[in-house]
């Protein structure tokens, strides 16, 4: 298996000491077309300058309300959606600056788990084929071995061997998400981006899938970029958490630091919405007023000022810097 792993990353030269993933000032804008000639009249600034570094084995949770650009960050990292500017480095190699073919060979190393376990599986492809086809297509395993590899990964994901010949419509949402995870896992990826993998599932099933993610992380030392709109989902899974709002990172901190000493008003608001079984910390209840503004026309200054209970004049004019507050805690707010 070791040599197969090398074969997959052939073509790129991993830089010594380079982090597994480095995102520098990533921007992804979607043009808004309108009128008779389909002219571009503006841009949806879905991702507006995100930087982030993931070391191998790390689990990073990306949270924020729906529409804050989390999915677009994940998709832009793996070039499922083309970025507008910035850099994405995988082991020091620029993913946006390599030939199509090389990128395709690198793809198995970076896998995405989709939010919707229904539409992300082809209804006409058997589970075994869906899971094993990439292995075959990349020549990562000989054909005779593929079936065993599929059976292994099915078991690792809590599915049964007889599921191999079934079609997706015969499974429940939770089982389908397990299939999606198995499809990614069989490729021995370095990085797994999970885009709200449980938000389409029943609450009772969510915990099972999160536990699966955690088990796989512990047994295989996976690196996660785990996206969620719900802080309580990433709480038990991620060692570091980033809070996004309107395409911008507002705060990143190690998990415990973030939960015990949130600095950004937006983070505090999100935290106060998380139900706490034991009131281990007194949280002021901050209710966010209004909706998330239109990312095509974000507020000037601090993007959060239209909803921030502490906003002052400076907030409306000046963009707060993303500052290091010590112990790996970064925040973008004039108040702190």
């Amino acid at each position: 298996m070791a040599e197969l792993t090398i074969a997959a990353s052939e073509g790129i030269t991993p830089q010594q000491n380079a982090p597994l993933l480095e995102v520098k000032d990533l921007k992804t804008y979607f043009p808004i077309k309108s009128g008779l000639f389909n002219r571009t009249v503006g841009y949806v600034k879905a991702v507006d300058g995100i930087s982030l570094t993931l070391q191998a084995g790390e689990t990073f949770g990306l949270v924020g309300e729906s529409g804050s650009g989390k999915s677009t960050v994940g998709r832009s990292i793996i070039r499922l959606t083309e970025k507008t500017s910035g850099e994405v480095l995988y082991k020091g190699n620029d993913l946006y600056n390599m030939p199509e073919k090389e990128l395709r060979h690198l793809r198995p190393k970076m896998q995405l788990i989709f939010q919707d376990p229904y539409s992300s599986l082809n209804p006409r492809v058997r589970v075994g084929d869906a899971i094993g086809e990439a292995l075959l297509n990349h020549g990562l395993a000989p054909k005779e071995e593929t079936r065993d590899r599929v059976l292994d990964v099915l078991q690792a994901c809590g599915l049964s061997s007889y599921h191999i010949d079934r079609f997706p419509h015969e499974f429940s949402g939770g089982q389908r998400q397990r299939i999606g995870i198995a499809r990614a896992l069989i490729l021995n990826p370095d990085l797994i981006i999970a885009d709200e993998p449980v938000s389409a599932l029943d609450v009772s099933i969510q915990a099972q899938i999160i536990n699966l993610f955690r088990k796989l992380q512990m047994t295989r030392g996976l690196t996660y970029l785990f996206i969620s709109h719900d802080l309580s989902v990433v709480e038990h899974l991620c060692s570091r958490i980033g809070v996004m709002y309107l395409g911008t990172m507002m705060e990143t901190a190690p998990r415990d630091e973030l939960f015990t000493h949130p600095l950004h008003p937006y983070t505090k608001a999100l935290l106060s919405a998380v139900p706490v079984p034991i009131p281990r910390l007194k949280r002021e209840r901050i209710v966010l007023k209004g909706d998330i503004p239109n990312p095509a026309n974000p507020p000037a200054g601090c993007k959060f000022h239209t909803r921030c209970p502490y906003a002052t004049d400076i907030c409306r004019q000046l963009v707060p810097e993303f500052r290091h507050m010590g112990s790996e805690h970064y925040v973008a707010c004039h108040l702190v």
């Binding site: 992300s120 209804p123 058997r126 079936r147 191999i164 499809r183």
Partner: protein, 308 residues
């Protein structure tokens, strides 16, 4: 294409993992339970057998003119009577069925081939190629097809195309008006499927273009194509009948259901010799209905999400 479950399952079959039938077999099983669709299919098969083999058992030669027995009402000798040239109507009806069914199916096959290729090319290359193909298709789609067919038919008569070739030319004419709808369908279906999340998953997995096309896109288009092709046979048979009825399609003496009805194009024949037009009319009507019922049944059955 390489299949893990199919190929390898054969050797490793156990009680716990029996080979599960393919989606096609499951669909076929559901089809067999759909009584209406099966009745439609049975009728189509019956029509085929009777039209293609029936004339072999007829004592009357096709197109044999016999003025002595013209316009006879149905009898034991001539089950459906004779026409105004003394030909046996039943024998002609079956001969006509051969032509009408052949024209319908052949023109469907040609339009499916042209439509699928052009639709797929448009969806794949997009841009200017897409624009050109689709503008032509749109143009043909916006003009109702019957007027186009009438004009083409009139031109053929003007150019004095030999009667024996007209059947083939009618096939091409029907394909000419049939392909744009299919091209549009295939193109939009390909574009829809390309946006599906499982195609995005295929990109993330780094599958090559061939695998994406043959294992993911085509299998999702083929069922719809089968349904539409089946239904379009009915449409083609109808169009051919209308054309031939107006003397712009297949010409006598080659019989088709359409030009047989044309034999009763005056009030006297219409009223006094109903055996001239009722049999071909019923044949067209029942065949087209049977094809449509069967096509609808196929549509219901080819969706893998459907159980039972």
């Amino acid at each position: 294409m390489s299949s893990i479950t199919g190929g390898l399952a054969d050797t490793k079959q156990t009680a716990a993992s029996p080979i599960r039938s393919s989606l096609w077999r499951q669909a076929f099983r559901r089809l067999r339970k759909n009584k209406l669709a099966m009745a439609g299919l049975a009728f189509i098969v019956f029509m085929f057998l009777v039209c293609f083999f029936g004339p072999l058992f007829s004592p009357y030669a096709n197109n044999k003119i016999n003025p002595a027995i013209m316009n006879q009402a149905p009898s034991f000798k001539h089950w459906l009577g004779t026409d105004l040239l003394g030909r046996d109507v039943l024998t002609r009806l079956l001969q006509a069925g051969r032509i009408s069914l052949t024209v319908g199916i052949a023109s469907m096959i040609i339009s499916v081939i042209i439509g699928s290729i052009l639709g797929a090319v448009a969806a794949y290359y997009r841009g200017i190629v897409d624009q050109i193909i689709m503008r032509i298709a749109d143009l043909l789609l916006t003009i109702p097809s019957l007027p186009i067919l009438f004009i083409l038919g009139a031109l053929l008569s003007e150019w004095k195309v030999p009667v024996e070739y007209r059947m083939y030319i009618v096939m091409l004419m029907l394909s000419f008006v049939g392909w744009p709808g299919l091209a549009r369908l295939v193109r939009s279906q390909m574009l829809t499927i390309r946006e599906r999340e499982y195609m995005q998953a295929a990109i993330v997995l780094g599958l090559n273009d061939r695998r994406k096309l043959f294992n993911h896109m085509i299998p999702n288009i083929v069922p719809l194509l089968i349904v539409i092709s089946t239904l379009s046979i009915g449409g083609a048979i109808l169009s051919e009948s209308v054309l031939s009825f107006f003397g712009l399609g297949v010409m006598p003496p080659t019989p088709t259901w359409g030009n047989m009805i044309d034999a009763a194009n005056n009030l006297i024949d219409f009223e006094q010799h109903p055996w001239l037009w009722i049999p071909p009319g019923v044949a067209i009507f029942t065949t087209v209905i049977a094809i449509n019922i069967f096509g609808d049944g196929l549509r219901d059955v080819l969706d893998p999400k459907q159980k039972k």
